[in-house]
Amino acid sequence: MSFLRVDGLEKKYDDSFVFSHIHFSLEKGEFVTLLGPSGCGKSTLLRCIAGLTQVDDGQLFIDGVNVTDTPARQRGIAMVFQSYALFPNMTVRENIAFGLKMQKVPPSEQSKRVNEAVELVELGGKEQRYPSELSGGQCQRVALARSLVVRPRILLLDEPLSALDARIRKNLREQLRSIQKELGLTTLFVTHDQEEALTLSDRILLMNNGKIIQNGTAEEIYTEPADAFVVRFIGNYNLLSAEQAHQVLGIQSQKQVAIRPESIYVREEGRQYPEHVRHPVRGEVVDYLLLGNVIRYRIKVSNVELLVDLLNRSSERLFPAGANLELLFNTHEIREVDEENSAIG
C-alpha cells in the first residue's frame, strides 16, 4: 500500500483551476520530485498536501488514513521553505527545538534530539547564533534540521535550494539526498530545475498547467518524453516538425519528432557504426559552445538547425564554423511526440 496517496485533488481560485485531477502516490522512503515551470501549480499542490491550503475536491491519504480535513499541525508533515522561514527572534538551537516544544517533548529528550539534528546538518558550534548571523546555506540547513527533528512522516521541500548560489546548492543537494537516504524519509521535493530533479529523485512527476504530464524515473522522463512540453522542458532536445523530420531524416510522421543532441553522431573515417545508427546527412557548423566536457554544435542541415553534443576529447576534434560534416542518427533514440495536450491522472 502506498504511504502517501493523492486521489483526484483539485484546487481553484475564483473560476480558474490551479490544478485538477491530480493522482499519484509515494512509497515509504521514496524521494519524489514535483517538477514543472513556475506557475504550474506545484507549490500550491505541496501546500495542499501539507494542509496549509484547502483543496476544493479530492482526497489525501497518509498511511491509509484519510487526512484531507486534518489540520496541518496534526498531519505529521514537515516542510522546508524556499525562504527558510526561520524565526528571527530565536537562536539556531531554539529554532530547531521549537517543534519539540510544541510537541511537549521532555527537556532532556529535546536537548538530545536537537544535538543529533545539529550534528546531522553539520552546524556544530553555531547553535547560539541567530538566523541573521548565518549564510543562506546555513539557514537552509537549520530549516532542514528543524523539520527533521520532529521526525515527520513525510518531508516536503518547496524549492529549498533556489535561493542559494550554485556551489552551495550543489553541496546542499548532495547532503539533502544523503540525509534522506540515511533516515529513509518519504520526501516530496518541488523544483523548477530539471537538473536538480534528474540528479536527486527516485521518481519525477512532471507538471504543466495544473496537470501531471508524466510520472516516471529520471531515466524514463529523459529518454521517453511524454509530449512536446516534456521535450522542451527537459534537456536540449532537437524538436522537428513532421515536415522537418522528413527533410532531415527521411521519416514519414504525422507527429513532431524529438532527438537528443547526444544521439547524433559526426561520422569518423574508419569507424564502424551499429546498424541502428544511420540516416547520413551532410551539415554545416554554424557555431559551437564549450560546456566543459561537452561541446555543443549548432549544425545546419537543409535549413534546419540541429544541436549536436560531442565529448570534448581534445582540440583536434573541434570543428570550426563553416566546417562540412556528415551526421548519423541513433534511430533507437528518435521519438515521435504529441503536442502539449496529454495528461495522465
Binding site: 501546500r47 501539507a50 499541525r73 516542510m79 525562504s83 522561514a85 528571527p88 521549537f98 528543524r146 520532529v150
Partner: protein
Amino acid sequence: MQRPNSLGHLSVIIIFMMVMILPLLGTLLYSISTSWSSGLLPDGITLKWYTSLFADHRFLQAMMNSVLVCLGALLLTLVLVVPTAFIVFYYFPFLKPFMNFIILLPFAVPPVVSSVGLLQIYSNDVVTLTGTPWILLGAYFTVALPFSYRAIANNMANLNLQDMLDAAHLLGASTFRAFFTIVLPNLKTGLMVSLFLSFSLLIGEFVFANILVGTRFETVQVYLFNMKTRSGHFSSAVVVSYFLIIVLMTILAGQWGKKQ
C-alpha cells in the same frame, strides 16, 4: 564618493545644531536667571523657579496626569493596532490599501474641529465624557493611530509572515501561540518606534487636552498655558523640566528595550 568639503559641510552641521540647540539653551538660561531684561546676559543665577515649580503640587499632578493619559492611550493603541495589523497582513492582505486610507483620516480633520465635534457628542445627558480623562484616551488614540499603525505595519511587511506562520503551524503551534512566540517578539523594533513617536507626540498635545478636559484633568501643557501670566522664568522652568523628563523617560524606555 566625492571628498567632503570639510569647512562647507561642517558649517551646515553647525548651523543645524545651533537652530536645534540655541532655543533650548536660551530657555534653560532664562529658567535659571533671577531677571534678564536690560543686558546681554542675565542679572544673576538662581534655582528659585525650579524650587517653586517642584514645590507646586499642581505641576506634579499635571505631569503625572500627562504621563498616565499618554501611557493609557498607547496601551489602547497597541492592544488594538497590533492584532489588527496582524489580521490584515496575515488573513486579509487585500485590506491593506483600505487600512492605509483609514489611518490617514485623523490628519484630515484638524484637532480643533474634531474637539468641537467630540464636545457636542459627549456632553449630553446620556454620555458625559468631557472633562474626564476617558475622552482624552479616545482622542489620543486617534492621534497616535497613524504613527503606531505605520511603524508596526512597516515592521510586519519586512517579516516573512506567511511562511513563518506556516512553518509554526506545521511544527505544531496554534496561530495564537505563533502570534505571541514568533510574531510579537519580531515586532519589537516597530513597537518601540511606535511607542517613542506616539509618546512624544501625545505628551506635548494641547488642543484636545485644553478643549475637552481643561483644568478638570490638567495635563502639563494645559498647566503651562494656565501659568503663562505668572512669570516667563517660571514658564521656562516648566518647559525645561518637561523636556528633561521626556528625555529621561526616552532613555529609560530605550534601555528597557535593549534589555528585552
